[in-house]
């Protein structure tokens, strides 16, 4: 797709030289939101659609979104996965309106136009009319009226989709260094342990920034400090892709004796506030390293999470200029035994809409969204770690990755 052809143009001008100041308008402006749909979500970006293991059988499908656009992902008779815009070529109804299921074909409920599992139009009800009257004329070509197909890539079981032919192959999109972290965490076939959905009263970008902002973690999520989850012995860092669009923030334990390699219990720093039950903080070192926490973002809206043994992929869906929805898909490995299943349920108390170390992310964006209205021409500032967009070996007290997001946003948006 030629970007120039879809660019509707904009009056918006980025108000500063770099990305260390962000105008509040980007969180409140409907025109920019509309432009994001075309230039960013339907531009040269990879978007998480679903997991390979969610649609194991031919005919299995799942509904999802890229930005505002409804998408259906389906496995066909040959075992291949296809993704299409979930919109009938005729009147534009959803062809698929149940969130998941198994079908032989897609049949639009409105006028019964049917499509095969690759999105090809296979039938038009009364296409030949009734008793020689009505129906389609000869100029109608079935081949020209299929469902709009989305390019996909299966990345270690994560099905990614893009509208654009210009989007580079996924590994080139995020870079080898960040690809290595996906390989580090998702080492075996996955299974889904459940889903959460959380509605944020804020523009989608405020949540993306929150994920890239490792500076806030121990400050907003007081649970970390109160219950001694983050300890001074932990080191970590931030990796950025060459493009600066994507990031990885991680922490790891320094000292683990041989005796407790398999399991290390975390004790509270303060006796007053110790956890009565520490099972949820137990960490089975299943990945062969000492990394306790890794949050990886794939521009624009995908987050891959490893917090102790809580694995998840998070998908952010914009729901208008001042609302967004986060879908959490909670993961385990297919070969987890009953003890491991139970441990993952315990540790998942930390994350999700009711998670001890994540719930605050649900309200803080709303606080900014409300305050933004004070003056949308004013700007937020991102001074931590200077103005550069560089990886960080030791300190996570930097907003480099957030600035990297804005670099990507400006490049996609052409502003």
């Amino acid at each position: 797709m030629d970007t120039a052809q879809i660019d509707p143009g904009t009056d918006f001008v980025w108000p500063s030289e770099d990305v260390s100041q962000i105008p509040f308008r980007v969180y409140t402006d409907q025109d920019l939101y509309d432009r994001e749909q075309k230039m960013l979500f339907q531009g040269p970006t990879w978007n998480f659609l679903c997991l390979d293991c969610e649609i194991p059988e031919p005919g299995d499908y799942k509904m999802t979104y890229i930005g505002d656009a409804p998408i259906v992902v389906v496995r066909d008779e040959n075992g291949d996965i296809n993704a299409m815009v979930n919109r009938c070529a005729h009147k534009g109804s959803l062809v698929c309106y149940k969130p998941r299921g198994n079908v032989k074909e897609f049949a639009c409920i409105y006028h019964n136009w049917t499509y095969d599992l690759r999105g090809k139009l296979t039938g038009v009800a009364f296409g030949k009319g009734v008793r020689g009257q009505g129906g389609l004329t000869e100029e109608f070509k079935h081949d020209e009226h299929g469902l709009e197909r989305i390019r996909i890539e299966n990345v270690r079981g994560f099905i990614m989709g893009t509208f654009s032919d210009e989007t580079p192959a996924f590994v080139d999109y995020i870079g080898q260094e960040l690809m290595d972290n996906i390989d580090r965490v998702f080492i075996k076939p996955l299974k889904v342990l459940g889903y959460h959905s959380q509605i944020f009263p804020n523009n989608w970008k405020l949540y993306v920034e929150n994920n890239k902002d490792s500076y806030h973690a121990s400050l907003l999520h007081v649970f970390h400090n109160t219950f001694g989850v983050v300890r001074p012995t932990m080191t970590g860092g931030i990796l950025l892709s060459d493009s600066r669009w994507h990031h990885l923030s991680y922490t790891q334990r320094e000292e683990i004796g041989d005796d407790n390699i398999a399991k290390e219990k975390i004790r509270s720093k303060q006796d007053d506030y110790s956890l009565a039950d520490t099972r949820m903080m137990e960490h089975v070192l299943e990945l062969g390293d000492k990394i306790t926490n890794s949050i990886q973002t794939v521009f624009p809206t995908m987050v891959l999470q490893q917090i102790l043994n809580a694995l998840a992929v998070r998908q952010l869906i914009p729901r208008g200029v001042d609302e967004s929805e986060l879908i959490w898909t909670i993961l385990g490995f297919e070969d987890d035994d009953a003890d491991m299943d139970e441990l993952r349920l315990q540790v998942n108390n930390l994350v999700g809409p009711a998670g001890f170390i994540s719930m605050e992310d649900g309200c803080v964006g709303g606080f900014i969204q409300t305050a933004a209205k004070a003056n949308v021409d004013a700007q937020t500032i991102l001074p931590m770690g200077g103005r550069k967009i560089e990886p960080s070996d030791g300190s996570r007290v930097t907003e480099s990755a957030v600035r990297g997001f804005w670099k990507g946003w400006r490049e996609c948006m052409g502003v």
Binding site: V222, D277, P353
Partner: protein, 164 residues
């Protein structure tokens, strides 16, 4: 044939369970959350799970407590660590149905809605769904041995911090 004695016994049990549930929801709605763990047995289990996960047979819950310590941790975190805009719940519970009263544990189901009112006044129907309870008698008092709260909607508005 149902005898008067059976009816009396059934009615008495319903009244006792009704009183337990009433005490439980008033405890939450009146922010006496430190008392919340007392409504469960020491090995009590509590789950808040979406209907989506429950119907798909998927185990992950929004809140999962297994044993008294985890109940206490939920409340101490809410009081000392978690940050959220102040709000209160109002629980409405109805349609209590006794599923099984043949053994020492009584199994029930009921419906509920929770309205949430924020400190600034915004009010919404926050949660609604079904509760499956296993109630048992400990030292003459009824307690929840197991409480599974199934939320009709998959979507949680903003965050979930106060138990249901």
């Amino acid at each position: 044939m149902t005898t008067t004695t059976d009816l009396d016994r059934d009615l008495a049990m319903r009244l006792r369970i009704d009183a337990l549930v009433a005490d439980y929801i008033h405890c939450i709605d009146e922010d006496r959350l430190e008392e919340w763990p007392d409504y469960f047995t020491a090995d009590g289990r509590y789950k808040v799970i979406t209907r989506e996960n429950y119907d798909l047979g998927l185990p992950v819950a929004l809140i999962y407590c297994d044993g008294r310590g985890m109940f206490e941790d939920r409340i101490s975190a809410l009081r000392t660590a978690n940050i959220y805009e102040p709000h209160v719940y109002c629980h409405m519970v109805s349609a209590l149905k006794i599923l099984d009263s043949s053994g020492p544990d009584i199994k029930t189901q009921s419906n509920f809605t929770v309205t949430r009112t924020m400190s600034e006044g915004d009010m919404m129907t926050f949660l609604c769904g079904k509760v499956f309870d296993t109630v048992t008698e400990v030292d003459g008092e009824l307690k929840f041995k197991e409480r599974t709260v199934i939320l009709d909607s998959r979507r949680i508005d903003t965050l979930l911090v106060i138990p249901v």
